[in-house]
């Protein structure tokens, strides 16, 4: 092939073609080309290869994704940004006045300030009364926008969810450290644990056992993870309990906070009681100095309560002495003959309160009757639906403008109906369970709570993606931001319309949740870059 020494090599040919040779070298090459057919041929081939590469690279025979064209300049709709900023300001204000300040006050009142910050954060957070005040749509939206903004600002870091989870867990641990590194005694039952009468634990006591019986005294907090637990001794701090049953017979100087199937209080509790339980009983001989916050199936208050009572329950029975206001949302409420309520009673429920003749109520209860199920004959119902459509539309708009590529990616994943539904079912049920189990261990608490909050946001956003998907099928893939918004609005309206149809509505809602969640999961997976395994799993 290379017979003649003066032939130039391919590199020189390329440099010559691309004008990269110096003048002298180029001149020599040109001269050689005139007399050498072989090199001319090489040069021609290289030239052709270059042209052909250019052609192959630049030919625009490929579809430009519509979503890319739907995401032009960032201030195409400045008013949306104004709205978002307004809501963000509102959100910040709501969070401050509604959450931080009351928390601080509440924490002090509840004697939490010298206690465990972790406990305060999560328990006060979960039992926070302010959620009730946040019912205003705009406030929730504002808080949501704030969250979205935070997520957007952190998106580079959040790419690696595991990293985020570690950070959150670390943060939680950091918060927990100052107090948990303080003295605490940890006991494991084998399988049961008994603190005998006469014994005294001078620090906090943490017990994990099948059955727990505390007959002695605890000078710090008592934290119990136990299937059934009975506390007969004197607890000078708080009682925190998780399990099936908790019975408190002895005096407690602090608060009781429990997540149990049944919670029975027979003794004297100086401060507050907060309970998630199927059954809550404050017996006749019991006395609670502070407030009672109950999220229960059945709640029966036969004892004396010094503070307010706030309850979300199915059935509420009051047959004791309540010193302050009562606010109850329940199916039914009963005031027994021994009931004495000094404060105001607010009740929202399905049927009128049942007040026994002997009951002494300081003022007539303020009653709001809420019929089960939607009232189709009421105009307000439809207005409410329109408001909900508006809220979801606004939410969708913010997501669309903040993360157009992600938005479109999720909608696109909706096409993969099979994998989306499969994953959707998995995530719908598995996420809360996983979050719950993660939360049981202190290490996983941050992760669990984070995951659960994200889960709720994801559930809400499913309608936005499914709505957009429907809009896309009906209106086609027009490019530009206008059509994208139009698709969102129409799709959401159709979804909302379907959701209010009796019977079918439930199925539509469930399908939306599953399908949307699946599409979200698929889209997230793509973003997390670890494509290969999942793709292989769900392809076709």
């Amino acid at each position: 092939m290379n017979g003649n020494d003066s032939h130039f090599d391919e590199m020189t040919g390329l440099f010559y073609l691309e004008g990269q040779l110096d003048a002298e070298h180029a001149h020599d090459t040109a001269q050689h080309l005139e007399e050498c057919a072989s090199c001319r041929a090489l040069l021609r081939s290289l030239q052709r290869e270059g042209d052909w590469l250019r052609e192959a690279l630049t030919t625009d025979d490929e579809m430009i994704p519509a979503r890319l064209m739907a995401a032009p300049g960032r201030n195409m709709a400045q008013w949306v940004w104004f709205a978002a900023f307004g809501m963000m300001a509102g959100g910040a204000y709501t969070l401050w006045t509604g959450m931080v300040q009351p928390w601080y006050a509440q924490a002090q009142a509840a004697g939490f300030t010298q206690g465990n910050i972790l406990t305060m954060l999560f328990f006060s957070g979960a039992f926070w009364k302010g959620w009730d005040a946040m019912r205003s749509l705009m406030e929730v939206m504002a808080a949501g926008t704030l969250g979205l903004l935070a997520a957007w600002l952190l998106r580079r870091r959040l790419r690696h969810f595991t990293a985020a989870a570690f950070v959150m867990t670390g943060l939680v641990l950091l918060l927990a450290l100052p107090s948990t590194t303080g003295a605490a005694e940890v006991r494991h039952g084998n399988p049961s644990f008994t603190l005998a009468a006469g014994q005294t634990v001078n620090t906090d006591l943490i017990v994990t056992a099948d059955r727990t019986e505390i007959d002695g005294d605890v000078n710090g907090d008592l934290i119990i993870f136990s299937e059934s637990a009975t506390v007969n001794g004197h607890v000078k701090g708080d009682i925190l309990a998780f399990g099936r049953e908790l019975t408190v017979n002895g005096p407690v100087d602090g608060n009781i906070r429990s997540a149990n199937q049944s919670l029975t209080i027979n003794g004297n509790v100086e401060k507050n009681v907060m309970g998630w339980a199927d059954e809550l009983l404050v017996a006749q001989k019991a006395r609670v100095g502070g407030t009672i916050s109950a999220f229960t199936g059945d709640a029966e208050l036969d004892g004396r309560v010094g503070g307010d009572v706030l309850a979300y329950t199915r059935l509420m029975e009051i047959n004791g002495m309540l010193g302050q206001n009562v606010s109850v949302t329940a199916d039914r409420i009963k005031f027994g003959p021994q009931a004495v309520v000094d404060g105001q009673i607010k009740y929202t429920g399905r049927v009128e309160p049942d007040v026994a003749p002997g009951a002494k109520l300081a003022s007539a209860p303020i009653v709001t009757i809420r019929r089960p199920g939607p009232n189709y004959a009421r105009a307000g119902y439809y207005w409410g639906q329109i408001m909900r459509w508006g809220a979801s539309f606004l939410f969708g708009l913010v997501v669309l403008l903040i993360a157009p590529v992600f938005f479109a990616s999720v909608v696109k994943q909706g096409d993969r109906v099979g994998p989306a539904i499969g994953l959707g079912i998995l995530f719908l049920f598995a996420t809360p369970i996983a979050a719950f189990f993660a939360s049981i261990t202190i290490v996983g608490l941050g992760l669990g709570v984070t995951a659960f909050l994200l889960y709720l946001v994801a559930l809400y956003s499913t309608q936005v993606f499914v709505g957009s998907w429907i809009g896309e099928k009906l209106l086609g893939l027009g490019s530009g931001i206008g059509p994208a918004i139009g698709r969102l609005a129409l799709g959401l309206a159709i979804l909302r319309g379907l959701m209010i149809v009796p019977f079918i509505g439930w199925m539509v809602t469930l399908a939306t949740l599953i399908w949307g969640l699946g599409a979200l999961a698929l889209a997230f997976h793509r973003i997390m870059r670890s494509r290969a395994p999942m793709e292989a799993l769900v392809a076709q």
Binding site: R48, I64, G73, M76, R531
Partner: protein, 202 residues
Amino acid sequence: MDRQKATGAMSETELAQVLAQVRAGDADAWGELYRRYAPAMYRYCRRLLPAREDAEDATTEIFMKVRQKLGTYDSSRPFTAWLYKVASNHCWDTLRRRHIRQDLETGDVDELPLEHPDPSQLQRLEAEHTTKQVREALAKLPDRARAALVLRYFGDLSYEEIAETLGVRRQFVGVLLLRARHQLRDALGQSAVRSVAAGRKP
């Protein structure tokens, strides 16, 4: 010229006007600029990055960068050249961040066959392959080889610019380009062989 074709660019005066408006904060002008150049940018990113989603993300991110950096653009230079430079840097950063660059910085120059390739073989290769096959072969090349070809023959970047973007010496760019061409020829040759073996039309 190729670049003009590829971007469907506006005339120079029109472009200058639009750029001035964008600098003044005109949202419509920005939208106009985006619509004109986004398709070309997307295709450019598509050639450089392995996955479609990456190219989509990169396109939006590049335009965000363009918007921030528009103040630094020297209007005496062609706008598209600047745009492609920004895009090249962004995509290469993306690739590098992902640590999937297979080839090493120094490169093995001795692997280069320095004898004449057979011109007829080259012609045959080009005649037999559709644009689509070339792109598929291109996607299989190591990142740096692919980037060198795309930057040069799509983005029309100068050797200096390519050297700067890919972080190699100026003298090494030619080697990189030639080696990339060889690798592409090999990839196409192989796929042709495989197509024949599979009994399909090459």
